[in-house]
Subunit: 136 residues, 2 copies
């Protein structure tokens, strides 16, 4: 029970109720991020095999998560899922951040932590692709 | 207090504790999806302006969320964020689903709800891009 309580406390402290609702109109146990703006960024590094570069970039991504409007985050690398034509496993790192609103995403773009991240690290990548999604 | 309790109950019922931890090593109020596999799919429809097609596709995406291994989901369209070279606003729909593990993603691929979704709707799109990400 201790673990369960700790988990619930973390969630209650960390997330906005506004963007979390049971997945709409289904019997699924999953939770839908209703009202959220999902900002998903994929980075292709110039030297993806350089351990020094990877270490710097991972530290930079984690520092970026200090932006206060971020509700949910995930720093990732390609999963070892099946190779299929439609699956792009070629990127070096991914960053998914969830905001309560477009306004919070807009303020993230000009946040000092985000601006420092771009200035200090943009020489490391040669391609970035961003997808911003809101509810249907 | 009623709303807060209701929110916590929904979260506790819907999410696995394993994949939710406070964003690592930061003072951020955000929650990191540690241990999760993020499966993010972008669809380009053949007829993105056809209301009948959109209605069918949105219903199909919502039905797909019945897959029981989905922990968190978001069905989206491009946000009206700033046009920048790196931001791709050209897709018609996005589907983000979060799993506890690669195994759960693998079972999703062969789940009858997923297979029906592909069979019944793949004539509607001309391009799909998938990104699967796990923790660094």
């Amino acid at each position: 029970m201790k673990n369960r309580r700790s988990f619930i406390q973390k969630i209650a402290a960390g997330l906005s109720a506004a963007i979390l609702v049971p997945a709409a109109a289904t019997a699924s146990p999953g939770v839908g991020l209703s009202g959220a703006l999902i900002h998903h960024v994929f980075f292709w590094l110039k030297e993806p095999g350089n351990p020094q570069v990877r270490k710097q970039f991972e530290a930079a991504l984690k520092k970026l998560l200090k932006v206060k409007t971020i509700r949910i985050s995930h720093v990732g690398v390609p999963a070892s899922t099946e190779s299929r034509d439609v699956v792009d496993h070629s990127y070096s790192y991914s960053l998914m951040v969830v905001f309560d609103s477009k306004e919070d995403q807009d303020s993230y773009q000009v946040d000092p932590f985000h601006q420092a991240f771009v200035t200090e690290n943009n020489h490391l990548w040669n391609k970035v692709v961003v997808y911003d999604s809101v509810d249907v």
